[in-house]
Symmetry: C2
């Protein structure tokens, strides 16, 4: 697919929820599960599954802690995640330029 | 999901192959199956399945004819497809602006 207009499209970032998560984690230093859930308006199970995909790909890192005796899960984008996401966005940008 | 950054992301256009097809059909008046297959470097079965999804959604229209006794399948983007794809790209554009 060397010359294809979609060669740099990363399927991991294609799913709507994962695109949203990566956008939020690119803009903010970190974000917790509850905040991501609210911002993206998704269920616990749905968001959890997508976070697992991103973590397994090495694109985000997870920190689990307790705040006021309540568990808190915080996410950060990794360097690899940042690089891969920017490449994905650059390819999307070139598609937008072709069409618009 | 009224305030969500992904509310206008259309899952139908999220899949890499369908994004590629919509881009090609947005740029060109029409395209045939063989040409799309070559440009996107995908198998017959894979492309066929994605074209069905786009057709069922009303985003593309299909014309089957014979050229030199060989069947030829040609695709065009519909007005609805054009409108929906532009909305999708506008949302992607706003995500890119936030991140970059």
């Amino acid at each position: 697919m060397s010359d294809s207009i979609i060669k740099e499209i990363n399927e991991i970032f294609s799913a709507k929820i994962r695109l949203g998560v990566m956008t939020i984690l690119s803009i903010n230093d970190e974000s917790d599960f509850t905040s991501l859930k609210k911002q993206l308006d998704v269920s616990d199970g749905n968001l959890g599954a997508h976070m697992n995909v991103l973590e397994k790909a090495g694109y985000i890192e997870v920190d689990k802690s307790f705040v006021n005796r309540r568990p808190k899960t915080t996410y950060k984008i990794t360097d690899n995640g940042c690089k891969a996401f920017k490449e994905h966005l650059t390819q999307l940008e070139s598609i937008i330029k072709k069409v618009k």
